[in-house]
């Protein structure tokens, strides 16, 4: 990769950073410092704007670069990922979006705590939300580091370190100064950039094959070296039954995890009503579905145009498939077109990471300030001026989370990004989804049930990962020299998700407390009608 690529990519990326910093300044010019404004952007976004912002939050670098790379390397098996990512949105739309908008104010814990004894529930839900966010955040930071190194052609550790620190610093600035309003506009700008880039690449690719997708697929199969097997499942997740079960576990985590991701849930609070929340979910399903259809075409296109061997040669995980495809589609490494397209794709990928990271940081700072800090401080009996000071705490929490994410991102530099994202989804599905669904739909759900549901999903999910081959016992694990591997699967979802639901049920039936009828009536009426909604 030549200096031209780097210079142009850096220039475009600096342009994006300048625009986003401009948005942040422009937004914070008129800020009033209310919690409503900081956490929910004043709840004045339109469904279309919020739909784009949700899509921007969800379409991470893991999908743009990671999944296309998986398709380029393994064909059909990469496609299984995007199906899970998309179908998950039906769970969000049907069961969560409207009801959460009506019942909560800023965080997931709001919905649960309204019915229960507040402190323990808020602390539990806040802890699991922060855990999920930090896992997701580390995945993005690790991705940022390796991308910078790969795309700028510097594989040295220093470039990677500075990339992680730079991304962390920028996200702290966006969030602590601009709050939800700045973060939302950054998501919207990023979603438009990413979608335009993807549409342009897909159009160029289809032009090259004269619109003949059949020929594109056959060429991909031929150049992959696998023949027709490339177009059918089994290349990556075939083989042993453990591998197959592992994939089913991942698929389950993907489809149930989205509805428990704190940064996705908090996006529904930025619109005025439940009806607007529903419409923003429909918008985002359209945008995300279209985007994933194009990533499938681009993934097979990379195999057909660049060749699976060349993709693997550039990056063993396939993360550079799309940039390489852009280089080829523009006319090759020596041409101006190739240079420009490559730089555009690289800049879009950076922008993607930056925006996703800002969204997660905001959601986790809300959990820290609104759930954890507020509950812990209240126990000491001070309530004075809490609305204002809570926002101040949230701003500082964003700084703290930034520092933690930078540190973990540097430590976990060599972990696989897709694995970390899968783990975040598994924890969200095990710890957040059961408690959320039980509080919305189960009349007899009690405080103990809520607390058990959270910890009963969170602890097994994290514990099973510690005992899995990811951490020890195999050459590819985090600590290859020791062996305390007792759980064969990489993704804990298939065990920990049912455990979360089971623990919630068990906690409820064993508790002495009788669920408050009036409070459940209030939750039910509010969730379906929007009466008294914030």
């Amino acid at each position: 990769m030549t200096g031209h690529h780097q210079a142009l990519a850096l220039l475009l990326f600096s342009g994006f950073v300048a625009v986003t910093l401009g948005i942040t300044t422009w937004v914070s010019r008129r800020r009033q410092g209310s919690a409503e404004e900081f956490y929910a952007g004043g709840r004045l976004f339109s469904p279309m704007e919020n739909g784009f912002a949700i899509a921007g939050d969800y379409m991470s670098a893991a999908s743009f670069l990671g999944v296309t790379g998986l398709i380029a390397l393994y064909g059909y098996d990469g496609m299984l990922y995007v199906v899970g990512f998309l179908v998950a949105w039906l769970v969000v739309l049907f069961l969560v979006a409207e009801l959460v908008r009506n019942c909560g104010r800023f965080t997931l814990a709001d919905v649960v705590a309204a019915r229960m004894s507040e402190r323990p529930v808020r602390i539990a839900a806040g802890t699991s939300s922060v855990t999920v966010s930090v896992l997701y955040l580390v995945a993005q930071m690790v991705g940022a580091g390796s991308l910078v190194a790969l795309l700028l052609g510097r594989t040295s550790g220093a470039a990677q370190t500075w990339a992680v620190i730079g991304v962390g610093a920028l996200m702290v600035v966006y969030v602590s100064l601009g709050g939800m309003r700045a973060t939302t506009w950054i998501q919207i700008v990023k979603a438009v950039l990413l979608l335009s880039g993807t549409v342009a690449l897909t159009a160029l690719l289809l032009l090259r094959f004269h619109g003949d997708i059949d020929r594109l697929l056959l060429t991909a199969a031929e150049r992959s070296g696998h023949g027709r097997a490339f177009l059918a499942p089994g290349l990556r997740y075939g083989g042993t039954w453990t591998a197959r079960l592992d994939f089913i576990s991942l698929g389950l985590a993907l489809v149930l995890g989205t509805a428990g991701l704190p940064h996705i849930l908090s996006r529904f609070y930025t619109v005025p009503t439940a009806r607007a929340a529903r419409r923003s979910a429909v918008w985002s399903i359209g945008l995300i579905g279209g985007f994933y259809l194009m990533t499938i075409v681009l993934g097979f296109g990379a195999a057909a145009v660049v060749g699976t061997g060349a993709v693997r040669g550039s990056n063993a995980a396939g993360n550079t498939a799309v940039p390489l495809l852009a280089l080829e589609l523009g006319g090759g490494a020596a041409s101006t077109g190739g240079t420009v397209l490559f730089a555009v794709v690289a800049a879009v990928a950076f922008a993607t990471i930056l925006a996703v990271v800002a969204g997660i940081t905001l959601a986790s700072s809300a959990s820290v300030a609104h759930d954890l800090y507020a509950s812990l401080r209240r126990s000491r009996g001070r309530r004075r001026g809490r609305a204002r000071s809570e926002v101040a705490v949230a701003r500082w929490a964003a700084v703290g989370i930034g520092v933690v994410a930078i540190a973990l991102g540097l430590l976990a530099r060599d972990l696989n990004v897709a694995f970390l994202v899968g783990l975040a989804f598994a924890v969200a599905a095990s710890a957040n989804l059961p408690v959320l669904l039980y509080s919305l739909f189960w009349r007899g759900f009690t405080t103990r049930g809520a607390v058990w549901a959270v910890y009963g999903g969170l602890i097994p999910a994290l514990g099973l990962v510690l005992l899995s081959p990811v951490v020890s016992g195999s050459p590819a694990s985090l600590f290859p020299d020791v062996d305390f591997q007792y759980f064969p699967l990489q993704n804990p979802g298939i065990v920990s998700i049912p455990l979360g639901f089971l623990a919630g049920w068990l906690g409820t039936v064993t508790s002495d407390e009788v669920a408050d009828e009036a409070k459940y009536a209030e939750t039910e009426v509010r969730s379906l009608t929007g009466a008294g909604a914030a």
Binding site: R30, Y76, L90, L217, A232, P233, G238, T529, A531, G532
Partner: protein, 182 residues
């Protein structure tokens, strides 16, 4: 770029709402008008209502205590509404659509996932040219997701929205009447 601050409530909310927004603009939203109008996306009850600049009022009540601390008589309102026939009907419509819907798409997705991992031979069966059963099933998942989303939004818009909005106003009216300022 457009500022999100200085738009009227409900703006950008789709073509069908534009007519109502024209009428609402500049006029303080009267309770009677909004009661009749399911397209009117209302903000919070009482607080968080935009002031003259269209920015929500800065005063934010505490997150806690607003539910539990309400007047006990106001809490009874929710039980009353929950038992009313109108609410039972809205809830039944929601559940009659959502429960079978969730069951169908989860079963369809899980059977796709399990078939792809356990029976790759079936998925590899060729249909036409490069297209095989697996490709069709994968695209089918995309198609059904879009269809389900469309059907849900349509069902909610036609069968639930108006009734839910009426219940919302009735409930808030009752809460205010019984419990004083809510």
């Amino acid at each position: 770029m457009q500022s999100s601050d200085d738009r009227p409530r409900g703006a950008g909310d789709g073509p069908e709402s534009s007519a109502e927004n024209q009428e609402d603009r500049g006029v303080p939203p009267s309770r009677e008008a909004t009661h009749e109008d399911p397209w009117y996306d209302t903000l919070a009850s009482g607080w968080g209502e935009p002031d003259g600049t269209g920015v929500p009022a800065a005063a934010v009540p505490p997150a806690r205590g607003e539910w539990g601390g309400a007047d006990p008589r106001a809490r009874d309102v929710y039980v009353e509404v929950q038992r009313s026939a109108a609410f039972q009907e809205v809830r039944a419509r929601y559940r009659r659509f959502v429960v079978p819907g969730v069951a169908v798409f989860l079963v369809w997705y899980m059977s796709y996932l399990v078939t792809a991992t356990t029976a790759p031979g079936l998925m590899a069966r060729s249909v036409a040219g490069a297209v095989n059963v697996g490709m069709l099933a994968g695209l089918g998942q995309f198609l059904t997701t879009f269809l389900f989303a469309w059907a849900y939004a349509r069902h909610a818009r036609l069968r639930r929205d108006r009734a839910a909005l009426e219940l919302r106003w009735d409930t808030q009216e009752l809460t205010r009447g019984r419990g004083g300022a809510s």
